[in-house]
Structures are given as structure tokens and as C-alpha cells.
Amino acid sequence: MSTLPKTIASLDVETLREDFPVLKQTVHGKPLVYLDSAATAQKPTVVVDAIRRFHEVDCANIHRGVHELSQRSTAAYEETRDKVRRFLRAKSNEELIFVRGTTEGINLVASSWGRKNVEAGDEIVITAMEHHSNIVPWQMLCEEKSARLRVIPMNQRGELILEEYEKLLNPRTKMVAFTHVSNALGTINPVRQMIQMAHHAGALALVDGAQSTPHIQVDVQALDADFYTMSGHKVFGPTGVGMLYGKLKLLEEMPPYQGGGDMIKVVTFEKTTYADLPYKFEAGTPNIAGGIGLGAALDYVNRIGIENIAAYEHQLLEYGTEKLSAIPGLRLIGTAREKASVLAFVMDGIHPHDIGTILDQQGIAVRTGHHCAQPVMDFFNVPATTRASLAFYNTFGEIDALVAGLHKVQEIFA
């Protein structure tokens, strides 16, 4: 993010907003201000159309049909794998496994790689800012294997303390799993450095890319990530589809995650031989429509350019940080020097749920609660926060609306 231009990024936001019909509505009589894209991003018309077209024109099951429709749907679905490969800059399509989302991606690795490779006394390292989806699967694995879960601490800004991370690493460390961008704080972690440190200790690294992929360019090869996982619905695609990237050699050595159709070569009652990658990990009929929708979403993002998105959002975030900081009694939670998208905060004497309800009455959609990161709330000693999260379709005017809304909150509770 340090190489971003200092000038205002030229993104024609008003025109782009036309691609999102959902944004053109009023809520409680006020224009909708959608500031909850870290929970799920809105979908452009091209995504909705791609899903509709699949159902209206090409609908068939994939991979085994010899008929025209099946070939069309297979081609469209598999094309998305190729698009994700380019989006994440992976080497080959065999390294990309369709999953339901980031959560399933992490569970797949914890379950398949973890069960095979983790033994009693081994250690798994996560961080203090993880989403529950990157805590619980590892906890379950550690419990099953009598392994130990260790946690990289963070500072009051919400930045990981790498000196402490270094101290945690030892020959028993088998896996380091951490988020690229924190959903609760917006912190962008120094992923490349953290992966190098893990590798130096002989451990693997898994990166949760749920919040990074909508905002910054990812290059899994440059990062040297062993596993990288993402959700379609955070990158303007539909819910229920995502992708797990894994290095070919690792995936080849891992046992299947689920058994069923599509993941096999030959089945007899005595023995089953499994399909080659990536299908070995893809049992059952997948979310075909969702996969096709994800492909359309990535095309859309690529047309705008992820670098342009990052540059514009950076300015939006700086503007929002400045405006919110100026509100008396408001404290930003998460003030890392490298940040993306997220403005989380608490206000003196006013509970986040009351803030959320009063903002909603003004048409402003924010998230309130623990954001599936209860340990983060405990660390900052708050029961919950209010989180405004940005996407490229948000405007400077919407930040002003948020600020006005928060003044109204303070009026009511004055």
C-alpha cells in the first residue's frame, strides 16, 4: 500500500454505482448507504445476469454429461477456475479447489492436511486477530491430536508483534495460519515476511484471504503461500462459493476431504481410486451457478482493475479515518499503519447496537457486534464495536452521511 499514488484516484464511482441496482433504494425513507461490504459485498448486474443466464439457458450438471448443455455448463464453471488462477496468480488450475468459501477452505486443510501431518506435541500458530473460522478448525484439530495452539499477539494499534511471532516458532511448529487483512480491524499483515518466517522454521503457511481479495492484488507465488483461501461473496460474487489455493505437491500428498461423486476414478466395493487434482477434493455436485457468478465477478473486478480499486479505497479510508477521529468520544479500534477497508470504532457511553439501530433508521447499514472475532473484542476490552467497511462503490458523500448519522446518535444519547 506504500506505493499508492498521492493524487485522487480516478475511479468513476457514480458510473460504477449504476452497475449495482441494490444501491439505488431508500431504506426508512433515506438513500441506502451500504457500509457493510466486509460482511458481504453487493453484486453487480453482470453477476446477477450470469447466474440467471446459467439457469435460463445452460443449466445442466457438469463434468460427465455428453450433451450440449452439460458441456456448456462445464466449460463456464471450469473457466472460473482459470479466472481465479489468474486473479491469485497461481501456477496451474490443479492447485485451485472449489469450496463453499474461506471457512470451508480452512476446514479442508485442517481436516485433510492436518489429520495426516499433525501429531501429539506439534504446534499450530495462529494470530490474535483471527476470525473464528481461522481459530476453531485448528482448535478442533489440536484437540483431536493433542497438539498445541499458539497465538501471535498484537499491539494496541492492531498490528501483529513479529518479534513475539519469531519466539513462537520452533521445530514443533507445523502450520502458521493467519489472515491477510483483518475483518475486525482492517490491518494488512506483512504476509510475505510472515510466510518466510514460517518456512524458515520448517512450517507451512495458510493465508485467509477473505478480506484481502476484494481490496488488494494477491500473488500467491510471490508470497510463496502454501495455502490461500478466498470467498466469492466478498469479491462481488454470490455466496456459497469460494476457492482454496494449495501448492500442487502439498495437495497431491493430502487425502480427500469428502467422499462422493466427482472425486473418484474407479469405485468398487473393495477399493476406490481417487480422481486427480483438483477434483479429488470436490465431492458431489458443486455450486455451479455460484461458480459461474464468481467468474463474472472477477471479470468485473479486473475491468476496473484491483490497483485502481485499492488506490481509491485508500483515499476513502483516509478520509473516513480523519472524519471519524474528529468526533468527540469516538475511538477507532484498529489503527494499523497498513490498513484496508475497515473503520471500526466505539463511542463513549453508547452501545454499538444502539448505534447500529439509529444509523439504520437513517438508511446507513453498518455491522455491530463482535464480527466473529471475540478474542479481538476481549483484547481491546470492548463488548462489541461498530464497523463501517468500504468498497469501491462507496463515496466520500457516504462517509459524510455516516458522520452526520453518528452526530444524530450522540444527540439522542446526549
Binding site: 447496537h353 444502539d354 439501530t357 433508521q361 473484542m377 439522542i412 444519547f413
Partner: protein, 144 residues
Amino acid sequence: MVHDLYEETILDHSKRPRNCHAMQDANRQADGYNPLCGDKLRLFLKMDGDIVKDVSFVGSGCAISTASASLMTESLKGKTREEALKLLDKFHELLTTDVQVSKDLGKLVVFCGVRDYPARVKCATLAWHTLKSALTSGETTSTE
């Protein structure tokens, strides 16, 4: 309008909750937790036979849940166990149905506006669910 929800009495009780303290000589106690929003509440009861002699609470929560706990404690003192449980039913009815507001609710009618905010019903009922658990089993209760 949002002012119907954040009615004056509710704001008053959320800022200055009544009976908001631990009780050393309580003979019943229960914890309530709303995992969705992190609201926590501990309720203390001093029962004299079947009668609520004293009631207090501690905890952290939003304005609606704090005010609800505060007003609940005010309305319970001197009531029998059965009367308290009946009031709980009436209160729940007030929040979740369109029935005519019952006269028995007294001050609690200020929560009438909550019925227009389904996401907030759990905030208003946390204290009452905790009461039920204190009166019946005394275990941790959850509104989820």
C-alpha cells in the same frame, strides 16, 4: 421513528440503571448471555418464600437491554413467583405480537416500540429470560 424506540424512560434507565449492583445475600442468581451481541447480565434474587423480596443485576449491554433489566427489577419487587412469570409472558407478548397493550405492564409499556425492531427483541428480553432461569433452575440462559 427511532424516537419511539429510544423513548425517554428507556434512555433514562439505560443511563442511570436502577438496582444495578451485586447482592451479597441473594438466595437465587442466574446469568444471561446473548452471544449475538455479547450482552451479559447477572441477576440476583432475594426470595422470601414465594415472594420477590429484592432483585438486582449487573452486566453490560445496549441501552435497550440495560433499561429492560432496570425496569424489570423495579416492577418485580413484592411480586410472587407466579405473578413474576405471568408478567414475563405479558412482556413477551408486548414485544412480539400486535395485541392490545396490557394494563398490568405498568411502566413496561415503554418497550412497545421494540416490536417494530425485530432484531432488538432479544435485547429487551434478555433480563426476563434470565429471571425465568433464576426462578426455575438458576442456570446460565441464552437468548440465542
